[in-house]
């Protein structure tokens, strides 16, 4: 996998960039008003998540006023309970497996498709592209019932195949990759053609290395998407051992039927599920924020 070293490299750069950010503060700042507005907005955006994290450190977790929002001392206990007693680690692991398979699958399949769409002379190319784009309108919920049946017919229920393969075709990824491929100077492509560089070599040694940023950026978006899948796993996976974290979260609620809603455990679980994507976003922040410039055509 040529992406792996690239990923590591980006990871390192992301961390470096964070470090640099703090040190370089130039003389002329924007007006304090701008910063104030930002503070307020950022606070508003982050507040709910912060509440979740705080609650996850409390004993019962029932918090009804702002005054209660001081971190409690049950963090270790709650996280231990979630991870060990409720086997939440297991769900996280399932989620991770699912997400990685989806991301890698999407990338491979979409790189192929985008390459065909951009670099091949194909008849009815626009139609093919449209056919792929059109799938944006067919998200899982609309197809639940037949898809469910199909999975049963294939014997895929309760397997990782059921929660990964249907996601592998990705209109968004193909679209973004196509945009990126179109921004690679034509002269570079033509140089390859003049040199007689074959498609495989072209893809491995020219296209992929020149798309590192976008691939990383798209991977993160797709990871978040995959990681957050909820409804479909809920429906198609009914064995606890194979369940994913999003669905597993409900198991942390405690005996709701019996009136015990353990908010602190739920929030501990929520915080746990937030960690992998968050970590990725921080580490790969540079490519995530730099590479999605959508240009016309």
């Amino acid at each position: 996998m040529p992406e792996m070293p690239a990923l590591l490299q980006y990871a390192k750069r992301g961390v470096d960039a964070l470090r640099r950010d703090r040190s370089t503060e130039t003389v002329r700042g924007a007006s304090p008003g701008t910063h104030l507005q930002l503070w307020v907005l950022v606070l508003a955006v982050v507040f709910p998540v912060a509440v979740a994290v705080i609650v996850s450190t409390k004993e019962t977790g029932v918090v009804t006023s702002l005054g209660d929002l001081l971190p409690g001392s049950y963090a270790v206990e709650n996280y231990r309970e979630a991870l060990v007693d409720y086997r939440f680690g297991r769900f996280m692991w399932n989620s991770l497996a699912m997400s990685l398979v989806i991301v890698v699958g999407k990338l491979v399949v979409s790189v192929f498709a985008a390459m065909a769409v951009v670099y091949y002379r194909i008849p009815y190319k626009d139609l093919v592209f449209l056919f792929i784009l059109f799938t944006l309108l067919l998200p899982v919920p609309v197809r639940f019932v037949p898809l469910f049946q199909l999975m049963n017919d294939l014997g895929w229920s309760n397997t990782i195949l059921a929660i990964t393969v249907p996601y592998v075709a990705s209109a968004t990824t193909v679209f973004i990759l196509r945009q990126h491929f179109l921004s690679i100077p034509a002269s570079i492509v033509e140089t390859a053609k003049l040199d007689g560089v074959g498609p495989l070599r072209f893809m491995l040694f020219v296209l992929l290395p020149m798309s590192k940023g976008v691939l990383v950026g798209v991977s993160i978006i797709m990871f978040v998407y995959a990681w957050n899948q909820y409804l479909w796993p809920l429906i198609i996976i009914d064995s606890e051992a194979n369940q994913v974290a999003q669905v597993g979260l409900q198991l942390l609620q405690g005996d709701v039927q019996g009136g015990q809603l353990s908010w602190s455990l739920v929030m501990a679980g929520s915080t746990l599920t937030l960690l992998p994507p968050l970590l990725l976003m921080i580490v790969f922040r540079k490519p995530l924020l730099k590479t999605f410039n959508i240009q016309q055509k």
Binding site: G29, T64, A169, F202, N228, M267, L288
Partner: protein, 294 residues
């Protein structure tokens, strides 16, 4: 000018497209077609399908609750799309304007995007529950009676807010790249001319960012219609008085709570048509107004 179509082999291009096309056909188009088929049947668990022709659709046509659900969904999508884009755009702009701490601000605002919708909904419930919510007290102190379990419009606002909040990060990711791509000299020209901040955003950046904004309108519309299920499910269950009974929730309930697959399928088809029609309108409109980057 020059061409990127440097390869000719039909077979190779076919092979490259194959995985995407096979997956699309088998797991996307085929189930969709089946959904269309099912919509002509009376179908449920544990009973044989029975062909009923257009009956399911006829039921929808006469069902006024369903009509309001369609309208509601369109309204909801409009509010969510407009809200997400306005807030994200303004946030992006502010971040673009400051030169200190950009990275920290950025990570902070895109952070909630990583949160699963279900968790987002739970957290929202937690802070905005009419009686238990952390923020309920302060908001009531402002003179608003927080009562969205009973008050439809309020419930709509809460679900929309949650949906907007969750999608901001995704938008900011794309918008910041687009805004950073606006040539500095345009910003500087505007500064020399004394074009004020907001005017610069609206009159200079936004038009230049149209390709990205258009992409986001499409993605956000799809999000608003299809991916907001968890918020409705966990916050309001479509109520009160159907005030938040958007199509995707309605469809899920019909299918997976009531197991009326025929009707649910008819509802999927309608949902699909509604979103498709909206997309078409959006493509038309943006085709006309979008600035085609130089």
């Amino acid at each position: 000018m020059s061409t990127r179509e440097i390869f000719d082999s039909r077979i190779e291009s076919g092979l490259l497209l194959l995985p995407t096309l096979v997956v699309s056909v088998v797991f996307l188009y085929y189930p969709t077609a089946m959904a269309v088929r099912t919509s002509f049947f009376d179908s449920s668990f544990g009973q044989a399908d029975e062909f009923v022709g257009l009956e399911n659709y006829a039921a929808l046509v006469t069902d006024s609750a369903y009509h309001s659900s369609v309208l509601l969904s369109v309204l909801f999508a409009a509010v969510v799309v407009a809200g997400v884009m306005a807030v994200s755009l303004y946030l992006t702009f502010l971040i673009h304007e400051v030169d200190t701490g950009q990275g920290v601000y950025l990570i902070s605002v895109i952070w909630p995007y990583a949160l699963p919708p279900a968790v987002g909904a739970l957290v929202f419930l937690f802070i905005a529950h009419p009686t238990l919510g952390v923020l309920t007290g302060p908001i009531e102190a402002l003179g608003v009676d927080v009562d969205w379990f009973n008050d439809g419009p309020q419930a709509f606002v809460v679900v929309a807010l949650a949906a907007i909040w969750k999608q901001i990060g995704y938008n900011v990711i794309f918008m910041i790249a687009a805004m950073n791509n606006v040539p500095d000299t345009l910003t500087e020209t505007a500064r020399l001319d004394g074009v004020s901040g907001l005017r610069r955003l609206v009159s200079v950046y936004v038009p230049i960012m149209t390709p990205t904004l258009f992409f986001l309108v499409v993605i956000n519309t799809i999000y608003a219609f299809f991916s907001t299920f968890a918020f409705v499910d966990l916050l309001t269950s479509g109520g009160p008085s159907n005030a938040t009974n958007i199509l995707i929730f309605d469809l899920y309930q019909e299918g997976f709570s009531f197991f009326n697959f025929g009707v649910a399928s008819a509802k999927s088809v309608v949902l699909f048509l509604v979103v498709g029609a909206l997309m078409l309108v959006q493509f038309r409109v943006t085709d006309e107004y979008s600035y085609y980057g130089a």
